[in-house]
């Protein structure tokens, strides 16, 4: 038996629907059709009245989820693509994120964002929004990179009493498989050291974890042992694990698929520079997508985002300092 990243997300939702009558799912084309990516396939059939098609109204979808959450439910909203959550931005950052702090009444909901690039998806179906949402106090922002994390972190997200932005990577939906689900996972807020090393640390998350691991394989061929840290959770950010890794290696490269300006990689570099300056043997580096909209053509797209090859090049530069 094997299970894909997408199936893990579906099974987590199935389990949440089974275990908690407060859970329902709201989104476009998610009921009978099963969702644009089939993340809710058969769930409407198996849980009648609890997996509902919405009109194409991201703002109102989100407002409905917020109202239900503050009135005792635990809604999951599926945005068809992360990019379209921009229409719901106001409800997410001004209503959901501020609600508990302003009123003392929790707003427990999960917004599932099919995120990141795939070949041919272009400027409006490829974006990574985690830095935008992490900017606002009151939100938890998660970026699972493995099948097990997709399952366990989604289940944990649904149980949290706060609004959670769940960034699932579309590139991993079908490509990433595991033999089986692990019996448990690290809690939200903890990063994982995926590969141990001593010459440099790559801190990354989501689909870039897999590109970074391939780059580490390349570097291993020429004798470098690269440590790879999967953040898992963007907010809260596990600074302790990052600093411990940098303490072991003295060199830091942060890799993210999102745009560079003011992003997650900038935040990690800022924290390590401020709190671990004495640990560094070289200037901390970061590698992101280019600072342009995301191109359509596969040739351009492959040159727009970081890849195993460009990560390996960046690592060689860092190791040569």
């Amino acid at each position: 038996m094997s299970i894909t990243y997408l199936e893990a997300i579906r099974e987590a939702q199935r389990r949440a629907l089974q275990e908690n009558p407060e859970v329902f799912i709201y989104g476009q084309d998610i009921a009978h059709f099963g969702g644009a990516f089939k993340a809710t396939k058969h769930l409407a059939r198996d849980f009648p009245g609890r997996v509902l098609d919405s009109p194409i109204s991201e703002d109102a979808m989100m407002g409905l989820a917020i109202g239900a959450a503050i009135d005792g439910m635990r809604p999951i909203v599926e945005m068809q693509f992360a990019d379209f959550s921009s229409i719901a931005f106001n409800q997410i950052i001004n209503q959901a994120a501020t609600h508990f702090w302003r009123t003392g009444v929790p707003c427990p909901l999960v917004v599932r964002l099919p995120s990141g690039g795939t070949a041919g998806s272009g400027p409006f179906h490829s974006q990574s929004m985690e830095a935008l949402y992490a900017h606002y106090p009151g939100l938890v922002v998660l970026t699972p990179a493995t099948v097990g994390d997709a399952y366990w972190m989604l289940l944990e997200a649904i149980k949290l009493d706060d609004p959670v932005i769940f960034c699932e990577h579309k590139f991993l939906y079908y490509h990433l498989k595991a033999d089986e689900l692990p019996p448990e996972s690290l809690p939200i807020g903890k990063a994982r050291i995926v590969r141990h090393g001593k010459h440099a640390s790559v801190v990354t998350y989501s689909a870039m974890l897999h590109e970074s691991l391939r780059a580490a394989d390349d570097l291993a061929k020429i004798g470098y042992e690269i440590e790879v840290v999967d953040l898992r959770s963007i907010k809260p950010l596990d600074t302790d694990t990052i600093l411990a890794s940098v303490a072991r290696t003295g060199r830091l490269l942060v890799v993210g698929e999102a745009f560079p300006f003011g992003g997650v990689s900038a935040e990690v570099v800022a924290r390590v520079t401020a709190e671990g300056f004495h640990l560094l043997d070289a200037p901390p580096q970061r590698l992101n997508a280019r600072d342009t909209p995301i191109p359509y053509h596969p040739n351009l797209w492959a040159a727009h985002r970081p890849t195993a090859s460009s990560i390996a090049t960046a690592l060689r530069g860092l190791l040569g300092f």
Partner: protein, 344 residues
């Protein structure tokens, strides 16, 4: 809470209902006059937004709801409706004066207050955004087996221009939710007149486009407002889907206490639309409902006493203390501590 019993049971006769609404309108006007005075004497920081001229419309909606069962999401000119739905007068005084004991504890101010656990969500500033939140609260009640709960929210003519308004009304119609949307067509969105806000013949025409029932009422006429909202709330409660009620009236003040509203033309103020609903209701009480001037003077002094007591209490309250503030935005406190572990 003064007059708390007023919110409990709807009075039986139209005369008693009219009188009850008048008392909430009067209390709202008296309180807001005091709040404005405190603002002008520098005792309130931030904005002050008044419902002057909209008390009949606002109170009539809330009096047709069932506190503890229904949902009411007020906007910035709903002091009368808020109190008629059961919001304690102290909530207003404490939130405007920044008391640590108010519902917002100094974290938010003025009209950005609520008690979501009592069915009254706290508005955000972004217009139209509360409508879909009410839809969600109604959806939650349907899931919990309370299908006859009605949800109501208020907005102005300006707010109807937002995407959020459109999305929510369409969604409410698709979901066939028992939502009542009260549009106070008060002729100005801040300083912008309605001819720069919408181009349809009448805002109520939009109801047809959404597939919801529309109602129009003279917002200066308390008896008409009470009747119209009684019909609209009943229709929503009995399975006829969302109801859009447009009340035509004039905002009898600026956008906020900082604004003198000098741009409102004199002929509009002198027109029937510009009449004061509170004054008209008082005249009606004397003329048609056997009220005596002595009795109404007594109501005036009772309202003044309630306001005085609430403001005095709030002024004696402790202010929020930044050293005692948790500075934690999440309900999951253990996550905040992880996130902030590196903070200086």
């Amino acid at each position: 809470m003064p007059h708390a019993s007023l919110a409990d049971a709807p009075p039986a006769t139209p005369a008693a209902r009219f009188r009850q609404a008048y008392r909430w309108m009067l209390l709202a006007r008296t309180l807001e006059d005091k709040i404005a005075a405190l603002y002008h004497s520098g005792k309130i920081v931030g904005g002050v937004y008044l419902g002057r001229g909209q008390e009949a419309f606002s109170a009539s909606l809330a009096l047709n709801l069932r506190p503890g069962h229904d949902i009411f999401a007020p906007l910035i000119r709903d002091q009368a409706g808020r109190m008629a739905f059961g919001e304690p007068i102290l909530d207003t005084a404490r939130t405007y004066l920044g008391s640590a004991l108010g519902p917002m504890r100094g974290r938010d101010g003025n009209i950005h207050r609520g008690r979501p656990d009592l069915g009254m969500p706290a508005m955000i500033s972004h217009l139209g955004a509360m409508l879909s939140v009410v839809c969600g609260m109604l959806k939650a009640r349907q899931f919990r087996g309370i299908p006859d709960a009605v949800g109501a929210s208020c907005i102005g003519d300006g707010g109807t221009s937002t995407g959020a308004f459109h999305e929510a009304l369409n969604l409410a119609a698709v979901e066939r939710l028992p939502l009542v949307v009260a549009v106070a067509n008060n002729q100005f969105a801040y300083s912008t007149p309605t001819d720069r806000q919408y181009a349809c013949r009448d805002l109520v025409d939009r109801a047809l486009g959404y597939g919801v029932q529309g109602h129009t009422v003279d917002g200066t006429d308390l008896a008409a407002c009470l009747d119209t909202f009684q019909t609209a709330v009943h229709r929503a409660r009995t399975g006829h889907g969302p109801q859009l009620v447009v009340g035509n009236l004039l905002r009898l003040c600026g956008h906020g206490a900082h604004d003198d509203g000098a741009y409102v033309p004199a002929d509009l103020k002198a027109a029937p639309l510009g009449q004061d609903c509170l004054l008209l209701a008082r005249q009606r009480l004397l003329r048609d409902f056997d009220a005596s001037p002595t009795e109404l003077d007594l109501l005036d002094s009772q309202a003044a006493t309630s306001v005085q007591q609430a403001v005095a209490t709030a002024q004696r309250d402790p202010a929020p203390d930044p050293t005692l503030e948790s500075w934690q935005p999440l309900a999951s406190r253990w996550l905040v501590e992880t996130a902030n572990s590196e903070s200086p």
